[in-house]
């Protein structure tokens, strides 16, 4: 059974139906015990980082979800659900414009770094519409090469293995993952989906970069649009449940991974 984590911020029917249509046996639940016994966990994307993280803590979901990821259970974070995989986020925190703020909200700290505001201006000074809403392409990464120039959390602390995770109430960050494969293999989540495929995005904040990036997208900056931790934990910035047949394929891939795990 795939547990869709309900943290009380909005309508989860699209995600539920999308996964069910992909062949998944799904349960929408806010119950930490149910999540702890699920074969897979999906963290959907509704609301703002600080608010969602606080609710997950209050309901006892945060620790359980993190434990399940660490235990190697298949996981999919969607949009904000992907953001919550990281150590910290500025969205909804008192100092949204400052990545290095000590007032950032704490995430699950599965991946290192700070989720920050998407800039409205690119390196050449051209203006972009933010939030980034609409259909954009995902360029798949084959391994960890070629991700220079991505959004890097400017905080000197971001990406370091100390400090941030402790502030998230965690004794340590999860063990760092190896960069994916040998420069050939792409993520199994994108099996049968060509690089350059369009997906539907709606967000104003972007994740930091690192060797965990498996797909990237360009708006005002090039940012991680798909990340992977270990073999079966994934995060996607776009909404597969709103991305027509390409999204349906990705959800089928995830359900296949769940069934094969």
């Amino acid at each position: 059974m795939i547990a869709i984590v309900d943290y009380h911020k909005g309508n989860l029917k699209s995600v539920e139906r999308g996964l069910a249509a992909a062949g998944g046996d799904v349960l929408v639940t806010d119950d930490a015990a149910a999540i702890a016994h699920a074969d897979a966990v999906v963290l959907p994307g509704v609301g703002a980082f600080a608010d969602a993280a606080a609710t997950m803590q209050a309901l006892g979901q945060a620790g359980v979800v993190r434990e399940r990821i660490a235990a190697g259970v298949p996981f999919l974070g969607i949009c904000l659900g992907m953001h919550l995989m990281f150590e910290e986020g500025v969205e909804g925190a008192p100092q949204e414009d400052d990545e290095a703020s000590t007032h950032n909200a704490c995430g699950l700290a599965v991946l290192p770094g700070v989720v920050a505001k998407m800039p409205k201006v690119d390196q050449k000074g051209l203006s972009y519409k933010v939030p980034h809403v609409g259909w954009n392409t995902v360029q798949l990464q084959s391994g960890s090469e070629g991700i220079g120039g991505l959004h890097q959390a400017s905080s000197a602390r971001a990406g370091q293995s100390c400090g941030l995770s402790e502030r998230a109430g965690l004794s340590e960050r999860l063990e760092a993952v190896e960069p994916l494969a040998d420069g050939q293999k792409s993520s199994p989540l994108f099996d049968g989906i060509p690089s350059g495929t369009y997906f539907y995005f709606t967000h104003g904040f972007v994740a930091p970069s690192g060797p965990f990036v498996v797909g990237e997208t360009t708006h005002s900056v090039t940012f991680p649009s798909a990340v992977q931790y270990g073999d079966v934990a994934f995060g996607v910035q776009f909404h597969p449940e709103k991305s027509s047949d390409a999204g349906a394929r990705l959800l089928r891939n995830f359900v296949s991974i769940v069934k094969g795990a």
């Binding site: 309508n11 609409g134 259909w135 954009n136 539907y200």
Partner: protein, 254 residues
């Protein structure tokens, strides 16, 4: 790079699509969900359901439509028509609508946009503007409300700017002069608004043939193009439109 979008719009009354729909191979051409699924297959980027009755009695029917849409559609959708308060909008968002559009009520009380954007995010709030050229006034258009029946004296470009400033995420701009004319979008109007705001503008009103869509993007500088009857009557498919746009060098999702 963000794709330019093609958006079919359906007028809905009592939960049924109105205006003739002439699709073969649909079990029930009056069902907005089934029609939207057909447009999804043709590569529509999103769909808009416009509730043209929009009295409080029919509100429950429209909420029910939004609820079914969130279960059965795999693309973003917007619901418009008759929202008077944040509570009205909340019901639609809770039912699963990705976006709502506001029109007359926002003109009457612009703070509706401010409150709705604060509550649900700018990406969820479209400001629909029905604009009509002011005779003899050059590049000047006036905002009309109540389905185009009532003039307001408000300048369309200035209203679009205020809506954007208040947190609207997109402008859905309909030319009343062109609506139903099949002469193409009012590209001068669309361009004037697109250049005045830093949020996406959806061009609406007047499409009659394939070339008009690309004109809306290239000459009108629109981020998205909307049409109703040319799609409903099966004169053009969304896919045909997008293939033509792509041939003109416009980035589209196919």
């Amino acid at each position: 790079m963000l794709a330019k979008r093609v958006i079919p719009c359906m007028d809905v009354k009592d939960g049924r699509v109105v205006k003739g729909v002439n699709f073969v191979n649909l079990r029930d051409a009056g069902d907005p969900i089934e029609l939207a699924q057909r447009y999804d297959e043709e590569r529509a980027d999103e769909v808009i359901f416009l509730d043209i009755t929009a009295t409080s009695d029919d509100r429950a029917t429209t909420v029910d439509l939004a609820s079914r849409a969130s279960e059965q559609l795999h693309l973003p959708y917007c619901v418009g028509g008759g929202f008077r308060s944040v509570a009205d909008i909340r019901a639609m968002i809770a039912a699963g609508a990705d976006k709502v559009s506001v029109n007359s009520a926002a003109v009457a009380d612009p703070s509706l946009i401010t409150s709705a954007a604060a509550a649900f995010g700018s990406q969820a709030i479209l400001c629909a503007i029905d604009a009509k050229h002011v005779a003899g006034a050059g590049d000047k258009w006036e905002v009309y409300v109540h389905g185009g029946r009532k003039a307001t004296g408000i300048d369309a470009v200035e209203w679009a700017q205020e809506a954007a400033r208040r947190g609207a995420g997109e402008i859905l701009l309909t030319s009343m002069d062109r609506d139903g004319s099949r002469d193409g979008f009012d590209c001068a109007l669309t361009r004037a608004v697109a250049r005045a705001v830093d949020i996406p503008v959806i061009a609406s009103g007047g499409v009659g043939k394939l070339e008009h869509f690309a004109q809306g993007v290239i000459e009108g500088e629109a981020d998205a193009v909307l049409a109703a009857s040319v799609f409903h009557f099966g004169e053009l498919t969304v896919r045909q439109v997008k293939e033509h746009m792509r041939a003109q060098g416009i980035p589209v999702r196919l």
